[in-house]
Structures are given as C-alpha cells and as structure tokens.
Symmetry: C2
Subunit: 328 residues, 2 copies
C-alpha cells in the first residue's frame, strides 16, 4: 500500500472539515480565530488514548465523535456554544486509509450537528496507541462563566439526563456476563451511551443564565460532586432516590444492587452537574424544559466542609467504597 | 512510590505556570481567553512524540522547551507575538516525579522568556511513548497575517539565522562518527541547535510589516521553500552560496561535502523563510537588524510553476535526492 504523505492526508481527509474561514483550508501553518463582537472565548482540551478512553477497535466514526463530544461536554457545562477546534492525531503503526475515512466522517457528522468547525491540527505517527488531543473553542456572551467554585448553601443541585449509563455500558462491553440478565435492547442502549456521549449543548444557555456553579460529570457523579463542593467550600445533602437513572440502568441495578455504586461512581456520564440558587430554580427548570434536556434536582448545598452526605430512602447515610473513577 | 493523582499533579507542577488570569489556576474545566482590544488571535498546534521528534531520554527540561518552541516558531513566522498555550501530556508507564519536575521547569523558563502562559491542559496516561500536544495562541494587530501563498515574482527570499544546524545536530547524536572530525565545541553547538531551537519571535514584527509570504522551516529549507512557492503559484532562483551556514555547519560541510544536502533538506531548523517585495527590502532589513535576528537574502521569486532552481557558485543547477524531511 502506498502511504499518503501528511499533506495528502490533510487535503483529503481534514481540509473538507475546515469550514472556519480562519482555517484557510488547512493550507497554512496557523489559523486566525476571530471572536465575534460581544462574544468571549472559552477554551478546553481533552486527550483520549486508545484502550484507556476508548477501545482501539471501536468504530472510528464513534471514536472521532467521542473525542469531540467529551470536549463539547466541557464547553456546555461552562455555558458555552461550540465554535471551533484543533485536532492533534498520533497514528499508530499500521493505520489504514479506510480507518481515516471513517474517522473523518465522524468528525464531519458531529461538526455539522454541533456547528463545530476544524480550525487546524497536526498529524504525527506514534509507535504507541492511537492518541487524539482536541482543543475546543466555545463562545459565551461575557467572560463570566459558571465555575466549579460558585455553589452556595441553599442552592439546589441538578443533574442533566441520566446517570451511570456510560459506566454500565463500559461494564457490559468488558464483562458481558455482568449484565447478562438485561435484554439486548437494554445492553445496546448502555453500550451506546458509553460509545457516544451526548453533550448537553442545548442546556448551555440555561446553565449560563441560572447556575452558580457547574461542571460536566466525567469521572462519576459522586466524585465530581465532591470536587465541585470542595472547590466551593461547601457540603451537600443528596437523595440517592432522586438520582435519575435510565430504564436500562434501573434494570441493571435491580439485577444486582451493587451496580448502583458503579452507576454513581463509574464515570463516562458527560452529563452536567450544576448548582442553582433557590430563587432561580423555576427559571432554570423552565429554560431547561425549553432546551429539551431533562434536569433533575438531587439535593441541596449545605454549609461546612464535610464530605457530601448521600441519604437513601430511609434517611440512612451511604458510603461509597470508591468515590471517583479516574482515567488517569 | 505513591503515585500522584491527576489533581495533585496539576496543582503541584502545572498550576504555578498558569499565570494567564483566564486559566484560574487550572482549577476548572475550561479557561476563558480574552483577546486584548485591537488584537486578533492566531492559533497553531504541534504534537511531539518521543523517539520521533525528540529522544525519550533527552533532558525533560529541553523536551518541554522544544515542545513550546516549535509552536512559537510557527507563531513567529506568522508575525504573531506569543500569548498563551494549552498542553496535552500523555505520560508513558514508569513516568517519574523528578522527570515532571524538570519538565515543568522547562515550561516555566520558556514561559517567562517568551511571555507565554499556560492556559489549560489535560494529563493522561499512555501505554506508548511520551506524547506532547501544544496548542499555541499568538496575537497580531489585525487578522491579516503573512501566509504561505503570498509570494510574487520579483520578491526577495530571506531566511533567518543559519540553516542546517538542527539536522547536523541530530546526525551528530545518531551517528557520532559522522561528525567525528569536528571539534567538541562544534558538535555541541550543533546538538544544542537540535535540542533547543530558537524561535524567531523577535523578528515577528518585521515579518508582519514587510513579508508577502512567510513560513517556518521545520522540514528542511529545500522542501519548505518548494511548499511556499507551490502555494504561491510561483518559482524561484536560489543561490546555494548565499544560504547562511553557521561556522560549525561550514566545518561539517568541509569535512564531507555530502553533508550540505543534509543541512539543506534535513529539517529541524525552526528558522523563518519569507518573501519580501523588492520595495520593502530596505525596510525589512532595517527592522530585522533592530530585532537582533540576522536575515539573509538567498534568492528571488520568479514566475511559472517549475520547481525552484538552486544554482551553485558556477551557475550550475543542483538537484537534491531528497527534497524534504518528513517527521510524519
């Protein structure tokens, strides 16, 4: 097989994605990024490594979309709208053109879905696993964005969507036996939630307008909640029964009650966790409803520095063996 | 050895470098990047992989500085002043804290030297080689930047600094015998030029004001010049004897005349190649002199689409077996 040069690879696979005018079709060494009048730039970056953040033989289309979506999730949690991204791609030995075709298709699909244009990048080879670093740019109307550290006692804690699907989906892929009691439909749903997270971009305006603190949940609800509260110098009371679980996750926890801990601490949710001041609750819920993204109150921020308290339906406090999942 | 968590690693090694106010000490999921009034943003990204772009056992201080400098070189060639950067770091198995200490020191040193602040990043582990992706932000006063495609017949072609030191430095490291006839001082000079490129940031204003086209030379002068001319739809006549060589590179070529081709095609120069309209020559040379960066005219842009013509002292045309070095 004749190998493409880096220039051929760029012009064939990536230049069609570089719709931002400042990218100049990826024909130069750098891009210009103009910030629209009245807008401010939000920057975040996340790297993914094969067999750590995804499986090397996953569909390249889904790998590409996941690489964009974990970054889009960070932007959404900060109330930002997607704008543009750069991509560094380290290709392992034996990469194939048909793999790249599919990978670029994934970038194209989500680039269109989220109005997220390729601005520039670098393609290198590696002797190790496929590695993808995305640098994402979002726009907000002012340079005030909801941080991790703004939660105040009395605020209500909300999560978007449903919790634990990604962690259970990964479990289903790694140990098929663990979820053998589920229907194929349920297992597929969970696997899909792991493979293709849904960034809550539509919820970003509601978060920006009403949240006192916000972050995306990537390392498990329990651990990420503790991080948000530590940053805010606060604590919280949480109702376990309030945490939104998908029907498939509910079915999994019914099969094996131990899986609830997996769901709450396992990571790969890419949902938004935010704190909303009491007087903003109604407005936030209305804005969320308008956005089409379900949000659920799961507890209340309290004063003090103790670890957040998780209470079950009988009001008993729960403790988690493992607070947080770490990809690192 | 107790392993640091990702959060500890960030707060210990990277947070002190995050002096840009929008980075908020790396305590959040995203940064804000405000663009000063009247300025425009230039974005470039370069990834480096151990044993491809540097040697895994190179001094971590120099690896860090090279990772910044190859990006700073791209900014300089576009006339941009350094502003901020994000860093994705994939650490291989067995990484050590003392390695990271030195790596962070390198980032700190060049961050200060070039007023280049860390804005954000991501640290992941990899089963493969150390991989570093830097996304660099520069500032220019308008969104006009010198591109590759602006060279016009009659323009003079200039290069900054001296050519070939990096390629010869790499050769000296890989095959000590190849340059055994050089003095230790000369070999050290060349090795240093490979290990620690000198981005021509000081020359950026002169390039911005006077160049019709510009790029940094990273894959060898011969190949990169051909790229610039192809993009511009032009050709050129070059004088081999005009190409500036350092005393050490001159000594190497005297030992073995074949090394001249290595110098001209080998890559790792990180000098600026630019085209300057005839009527701007004096102003460009004066601005360059003021910047302290030596620039040398090496030829003239001509019309037509044939490959650039390299002429030796007798006016004979030279052909290079290998036009360009590719890291890819």
């Amino acid at each position: 097989m004749t190998r493409l040069t880096e220039d051929q690879l760029i012009s064939r696979f990536f230049a069609p994605l570089a719709t931002h005018p400042g990218a100049r079709g990826l024909t130069d060494d750098a891009a210009t990024l103009s910030v629209p009048a009245g807008a401010h730039l939000v920057v975040t970056t996340d790297a993914l490594v094969a067999d750590i953040h995804f499986l090397a033989d996953d569909d390249p289309d889904l790998i590409a979309r996941k690489a964009l979506r974990v970054n889009l999730s960070d932007l959404a949690a900060k109330g930002a709208q997607p704008y543009a991204y750069t991509l560094c791609l380290a290709l392992p030995p034996g990469w194939r053109e048909d793999w790249l075709v599919r990978f670029a298709e994934g970038l194209a699909v989500d680039g269109l879905e989220f109005s997220f244009a390729l601005l520039g990048g670098d393609t290198v080879k590696t002797t190790g696993p496929l590695t993808i670093a995305v640098n994402a740019f979002g726009l907000v109307p002012s340079d005030h964005i909801p941080r991790r550290d703004g939660a105040r006692p009395g605020d209500t804690l909300y999560v978007s969507g449903s919790i634990g699907d990604g962690a259970l989906g990964l479990l289903a892929r790694r140990r098929a036996q663990a979820l053998a009691g589920l229907s194929e439909l349920e297992r597929d749903y969970l696997a899909r939630r792991y493979l293709l997270p849904q960034p809550r971009t539509a919820l970003a305006p509601a978060v920006l307008s009403h949240a006192s603190a916000s972050m995306d949940i990537s390392d498990g609800l329990v651990g990420d909640l503790a991080k948000l509260l530590r940053a805010s110098g606060a604590s919280a009371d949480l109702e376990l029964g309030a945490v939104p679980l998908s029907p498939a996750a509910q079915a999994a926890c019914k099969l094996d009650s131990g899986l609830l801990e997996t769901a709450l601490t396992g990571g790969d949710d890419y949902e938004i966790l935010c704190a909303v001041p009491f007087e903003q609750r109604v407005a936030f819920e209305e804005a969320a409803q308008e956005s089409g993204v379900p949000v659920t109150p799961i507890g209340t921020v309290t004063s003090g520095h103790r670890a957040p308290r998780w209470l079950d339906d009988e009001g008993e406090e729960l403790h988690f063996a493992r607070g947080s999942f770490s990809h690192f």
